[in-house]
Amino acid sequence: MDGKAGASKRRAAVLGGLALLLAGALLAGVLVGPTRLEPRQVLAGLLARPPAGAGAGQANRAAPPGAAGPEAAGRAEAAAQAVIVREIRLPRVLLAALVGMALAEAGVALQGLFRNPLADPYVAGVSAGAALGATVAFALRGLSPARMDLPVPLLAFAGALGTAELVWRLARRGEGAPVPLLLLAGLAVSALFSAAISVLMVVGQRQLGEVVFWLMGGLAGRGWSHVAAALPAAALGTALVAPRWRELNLLLFGEEEARYLGVEVARVQRRLQLGASLLAAAAVAVSGLVGFVGLVVPHLCRLLVGPDHRALLPASLLAGGALAVLADLVARTAFAPVEVPLGAVTALVGGPFFLFLLWRSGRGHGFVG
């Protein structure tokens, strides 16, 4: 009994700690940027009532040329700071958290679906599918990654779901997908789709540079329209995956055993596939290809809270959000004023981690019966 109470107390402490970490990361993300702002100014920017119909355009109008006097200038500066905080930093930081949460949750769902610890939206090719879908919207509909319109996340979702199904059919053998097959299927699908993306971009001839930069994975210039596009898909995806924590636990013991214990395995797998596709689409539509978050975060969280998905899912949400916000902070400050793509930062951290896991799985880090 002691052990049981101790474990749940420890889990609550870890989740609390991760929530604090996420809050701290969000705060740091809002405080730090190319324009040096005092915490007091950031706070003022967050709390200030915007002029009617606030936005970048209106902010300039707040200080019309010729409005003389230091008072007006001060007001104009405060208004400009408020715009930086509210229209640039805040949406970007929230979007980074949203992307990290979605990718981490998608990673947990795909690992449960494929019964394979190396599954992640990027590795399994689902992100590439979402990217192909979004590129169709960019290239053929003339939409831009800089402003989110509804067809982009919708087509990204269609691409993600189609790819999840394709990889499922290619890589599945017996119960789940073995590591080599999953990696090969993910690799082949990603290579094929990136070729298709190149063709689309050349044929479409529109927004070429923007799409290329979007593909590298990043949040530069993202605003509230992106938050509005990603939030519903991410929330719906989470709502599909999170309540399935019991089934995810049971699937670890095998599909047949899960069936014996009362799980409608095919139905649960369909939900996980749908949820992971929504989550990956939400992330990819707004941030391009940001790899390995869905791989690294669940693994770190398993070390912290153990394998029980009731704790693992919320822990991965919080840690994924925090990690992505911090990675984005590094991406935009490490070589300021130049921005490094967020996807490059996560790959630099996640790539070696992935190789370590692959090395370990190759050493027959065995099954238990």
Binding site: E256, Y260, L261, G262, V368
Partner: protein, 260 residues
């Protein structure tokens, strides 16, 4: 728990298999509460296939399997799992599964009853107690020996509070002492609680010693079914296994087989 003597699982003209192969080619069986059935037969005779049909995870190609009068393969899985528990032979668990504690694994048996993570259920404590797992309750599954792990999965099956218990080679990875202990416990549950039990077994003498009824399969058909001593006659064993045996009586007057 089931009522003694009432049919829990009924198999009628069952044909089932994989791909082009019909592994079972017309099997009949009625398992009642308070009966311990042993399923015997050479490799490939259809023992595990029969068990999977009884559990409702493999659909019959002809005939039917009834759980208390209703087709088991058409019931929701949760409803089946409240009545039928399975002790699988070596599972297909991932390494992460080994990091669950014994108590967590046993609590998974409460899933069909829809009780959160099941850890608050008295059935979990009772099962841990019954299988002598209290002292190991907080240990990770992966650190246990094969015999201990077997007991954990049996405890998980009992935590389902089933009326029928299906065991696929429950003695396969156990030493003799644990084989006897496992089958003794199943026998006790059958006698004390009216559980209906069906076990796939390899050891003919263990089957003679513990089971009330035996079903002897060859190539997907029943060669004999019923009283253990009658099923495992010298002729039947010769016909099915191609081995010459003598039937002797032990000091308690129970039959046992000796290789000739």
């Amino acid at each position: 728990m089931a009522l003694w003597g009432e049919v829990v699982l009924q198999v009628e003209g069952l044909r089932a298999g994989y791909g082009a192969l019909d592994v079972l080619q017309g099997v009949d069986l009625a398992v009642r509460g308070g009966e311990f059935w042993g399923i015997l037969g050479p490799n490939g005779s259809g023992k595990t296939t029969l068990l999977r049909c009884l559990a409702g995870v493999l659909r019959p190609r002809a005939g039917r399997v009834l759980l208390e009068g209703r087709r088991v393969d058409e019931l929701p899985r949760r409803e089946v799992a409240r009545a039928v528990a399975v002790l699988p032979s070596g599972g297909d668990g991932l390494p992460e599964a080994g990091t669950f504690s014994v108590r967590q694994v046993v609590a998974l048996g409460r899933y069909p009853w829809g009780e959160g993570d099941g850890s608050a259920s008295p059935a979990v404590e009772e099962s841990l107690d019954l299988l002598g797992l209290k002292a190991l309750a907080e240990r990770p599954l992966g650190e246990l020996s094969g015999g201990e792990r077997q007991r954990v999965f049996l405890a998980r099956a009992l935590a389902q509070e089933p009326r029928a218990l299906l065991l696929d080679e429950p003695t396969a990875h156990l030493d003799l002492r644990h084989q006897v202990a496992t089958l003794s416990l199943v026998r006790r549950l059958v006698q004390e609680r009216g559980l209906a039990a069906v076990a796939v077994l390899h050891d003919l003498n263990l089957a003679l010693r513990f089971c009330d009824r035996l079903l002897l399969l060859r190539s997907g058909r029943a060669v004999a079914a019923g009283e253990p001593a009658a099923v495992l006659s010298a002729e039947n064993v010769r016909a099915v296994y191609g081995a010459e045996v003598l039937v002797d009586l032990d000091r308690a007057g129970r039959p046992y087989l000796r290789l000739q």
